[in-house]
């Protein structure tokens, strides 16, 4: 775990390599994560989501400059989609962020979504934790361009910013469930365009009609990322939201829930991957898998059979023990 020590000491190449390990789900990831655990909790994660071309990257770029001006370190995680056909990807968010390339206080990482469908790369959460441990104060997480239901960002971000543009639709669109429900802050970008005021009014109405929580009034902020208009206001709202989360004890709650989720997920993943490895040696699991694939046994009976097979479970435990 020399790599982790180097990263914690501030080596950016080591941080980059650790993110790669998380991305390919290397076997040493649990060790890495437990090693960095004591260094976690300092960073605030801000999610940016919205339709393609809304200006997410440009806003992240502007906001980064504003945060840097206050002297804080910034990590950026920029997600773009993988091709469902070739598995390849074009990651182009960096283009909007060139002014920060030579700033040692900014670390930018582009992630392809690979097989994830929720708008975020699966490695985004792990990458956030690594940047947190590395000592970044703010980590800005940008989703792929989303529609209405790619909402993974909610679980990853402390503050979620939903970015819309005037072409986003009429009042009925703002009544729909999904994307519009997850905003802690709304941004109407390209605010110099026709329809921007009308959209902002609709959003205000929606927010006031069904206040998300009494402790936080969701603001609607007009920006023009290209001209750097509204950036300061947006940053102020983010800082206020962070403060509100902390003062009401919700930050602790949020993070507790997140840790719980990670705990359960890690157990699930490790048990499953062990079980699948065991399938190479154990005839019972293999037969069950093949039976299910051929349609001879239904998946539910097959899984109950496996989970009630004591001998097999003993075998599994022995395997897990060996791994330690």
């Amino acid at each position: 775990m020399e790599l982790v020590d180097k990263m914690l000491a501030g080596n950016d190449a080591s941080l980059a390599r650790l993110i790669t390990l998380v991305e390919k789900e290397a076997p040493e990831v649990p060790q890495i994560m437990s090693r960095i655990y004591p260094s976690l909790g300092g960073a605030h994660s801000v999610g940016f989501t919205g339709p393609p071309g809304a200006g997410k990257s440009s806003l992240v770029d502007r906001l980064t400059a504003a945060i840097r001006a206050k002297g804080f370190g910034v990590g950026i995680i920029a997600c773009d989609p993988s091709s469902p056909f070739s598995g390849g990807a074009v990651l182009g968010d960096r283009i909007r962020m060139q002014q920060h390339y030579l700033d040692g206080g900014v670390f930018i990482r582009s992630l392809a979504t690979r097989d994830s469908r929720g708008g975020l790369a699966r490695a985004a959460r792990g990458a956030f934790k690594l940047m947190d441990a590395f000592g970044k104060d703010y980590v800005l997480i940008e989703t792929v361009g989303v529609g209405q239901t790619e909402l993974d960002i909610v679980d990853a971000a402390d503050t979620t910013v939903v970015i819309l543009v005037p072409e986003a639709g009429d009042a009925i669109q703002t009544m729909k469930a999904g994307l519009l429900e997850i905003a802690d802050i709304f941004v109407v970008n390209k605010a110099d365009r026709d329809g921007a005021d009308a959209l902002a009014v609709e959003l205000e109405k929606m927010v006031n009609q069904s206040p998300k929580q009494e402790w936080w009034q969701v603001p609607v902020i007009m920006t023009q990322a290209v001209k750097d208009v509204g950036t300061e206001e947006l940053l102020e709202s983010i800082l206020k939201h962070r403060e509100a989360l902390e003062q009401t004890g919700r930050m602790a709650l949020l993070r507790g829930r997140r840790r719980r989720g990670e705990f359960l997920q890690t157990i699930q993943q490790r048990l499953l991957s062990r079980l699948l490895k065991l399938a190479d040696k154990d005839g019972g699991i293999k037969a069950a898998l093949e039976g299910v694939e051929r349609g001879e046994i239904d998946p539910y009976s097959a899984s109950m059979e496996i989970l009630s097979n004591k001998e097999l479970l003993h075998h599994l435990l022995a395997e897990l023990e060996q791994e330690e």
């Binding site: 790669t20 598995g87 390849g88 060139q98």
Partner: protein
């Protein structure tokens, strides 16, 4: 359930020329070959390219230059990668590169130079065979 390693490529335009059609065609071509290609845009200094390559932990840096400054810019990228301890990153170049400059560039550590007319397949095959495997 470890995933197989995806090849990551940084595609960059060092220097001052504004012609990125070639770099874009190759970006798409390599995407279709299953690679993850980070496109960083025009007018990059070697420092910017190297910094991006380190943060993105890429396996390959592709440089496209049509301005004639390749003999300065390409070796600068190679040297700075070396300084950062990243000499295992494959560096390939393209653009308008006179044939007689190719040995010079290879001598300076550019792994391969692909001129106009090269097929995407040829470049993809070279990358797959020569990019680091870890």
């Amino acid at each position: 359930m470890a995933e197989e390693k995806k090849i990551r490529v940084l595609m960059a335009k060092p220097g001052l020329d504004g012609h990125d059609r070639g770099a874009r065609v190759l970006t798409l071509g390599l995407r279709d070959e299953g690679m993850e290609v980070i496109y960083t845009g025009l007018r990059q200094s070697p420092e910017m390219i190297v910094q991006a390559a380190i943060q993105e932990d890429v396996d390959v840096v592709g440089l496209s230059c049509l301005s004639g400054a390749h003999k300065t810019l390409f070796p600068a990228v190679v040297n700075q990668l070396k300084d950062k301890g990243a000499s295992d990153i494959l560096v390939i170049g393209g653009g308008i590169i006179p044939k007689e400059d190719v040995p010079f560039l290879q001598d300076k550590g550019v792994n391969a130079v692909f001129g106009p007319g090269t097929s995407i397949k040829e470049i993809a095959t070279f990358i797959k065979e020569n990019a680091r495997k870890n």
